[in-house]
Symmetry: C2
Subunit: 252 residues, 2 copies
């Protein structure tokens, strides 16, 4: 399959590398910034293009992997016969309608780093398409990359994305808050690393509701009050502590 | 060293097992509930006692590992010559003063499960004591169990505990929220497990502030608004989303 990659960010990079490793041919990498296009194209042994008019129209698959609010404009300017997909969790399939009559979604659920290479076989891929034939093509490709391939509609995918924001983006921010609290007492973040690793490890086998620990689930009002008092100098932090503790206390 | 363990919960159990493995002698396990005392005492090949009057007064170390609000009463009823410590993150050292003139804190920073055995060598131990000699004894013991032993005062320990609540207890609760969101669309929690594992893995090398991803750090207002709309049927959840996103957006 001849694939054109539109985008050069973290998702485009990791997906491009995984596709290449699976033996697919990336023929072009498009980015409006020539340097970005070139940097990724070089890794993928593809041609770099920075003008949309230079994008080949005879490829089999076009993967739009750009910031969510740039998808619409790109899809409106692209007119091709091949399959066009985007990789966004919270963007409707229909946004791609202007670009082709074969459209789909290829959403990899993972947090991608600048440097760290991700094992794509462990990355769930959520697929959607406007036609069964298109879905078939995407499924076949997805299964070459990942062990977890699932079809879902745009509504389900958005819920999945919101869930990922809670489980990943917000969790990471709580690590940041914890790190800042430690720094305020000259304590090293290393103290928390084993705890963070174990917290994530526990839910690989169990459901998180079964392994909740801490003062809120024990309804230990005295400790909760002590912690709230300690955070009184930082009202936004205190409010996050209060709200999350309340949410735990309210669990059925 | 002859050790008496007062308590039979998750921390007492895991700590007792680790001490036994390190070659220490647990002579008694005290719990007001005889069955609990017996169950743990059997594992530790110790004597079970359910009356405080039966606790030996000639032991070298007494470890009080009970619910935070039960420490004070226990410490007031205990009169011994050996060292008395508690294992609580948010309880002052001074609460132990009535029990002995050698007092300390032995706080293991980890989330303990009912079943899963914890590798204690990876559990940071925060120590405090009222005398250098007592600290010396605790340090020697702690180093037998863990690679990360650190002395800190009660104020630092409370900050460490609050940080742990954010990094562990609250993160786990976010996993629960994510799991419930998925369940509402009949999606399996397995979809999120690799993401959760990777999120925790990333901060084992990096600082969390350096690897934050998601719509809030990109200041992607459109997606944030979409997600808030989606959560409008669940105001407490919407408020958590709003507050955490705002806290990420406000990062310097």
């Amino acid at each position: 399959m001849k694939i054109v990659l539109l985008g050069s960010g973290r998702v485009a990079t990791q997906l491009g590398l995984a596709l290449q490793q699976a033996g697919e041919e990336i023929v072009q990498v498009f980015s409006p910034t020539q340097a970005h296009a070139s940097a990724l194209a070089e890794k993928l042994r593809a041609l770099a293009v920075s003008q949309l008019s230079e994008v080949r129209t005879d490829a089999d698959l076009y993967i739009i992997s750009v910031k969510d609010d740039a998808i619409s404009e790109l899809a409106s300017s692209l007119k091709v016969n091949g399959i066009v997909v985007h990789t966004s969790g919270s963007t409707d399939l229909s946004i791609l309608a202007p670009s082709s009559n074969q459209i789909g979604v290829f959403y990899p659920l993972q947090t991608f780093s600048e440097q760290k290479r991700v094992d794509f076989s462990e990355v769930p891929l959520a697929l959607e398409a406007n036609k069964p034939e298109v879905l078939g093509v995407l499924k076949k490709l997805a299964k070459k990359l990942s062990r977890q391939v699932i079809e879902m509609n745009s509504e389900q995918r958005m819920i999945l994305h919101v869930a990922a924001v809670f489980a990943c983006n917000f969790s990471n921010h709580l690590y940041t808050i914890a790190q800042q609290l430690l720094a305020s007492q000259n304590l090293d973040f290393n103290l928390l690393r084993p705890l963070i690793a174990e917290t994530a490890a526990k839910v690989q086998q169990s459901l998180p509701g079964e392994v909740q620990t801490g003062p809120a689930i024990r309804k230990d009002e005295k400790i909760l009050q002590k912690h709230l008092n300690l955070l009184s100098k930082n009202p936004p932090l205190q409010e996050i502590y209060r709200l999350l503790s309340q949410s735990i206390v309210n669990l059925p």
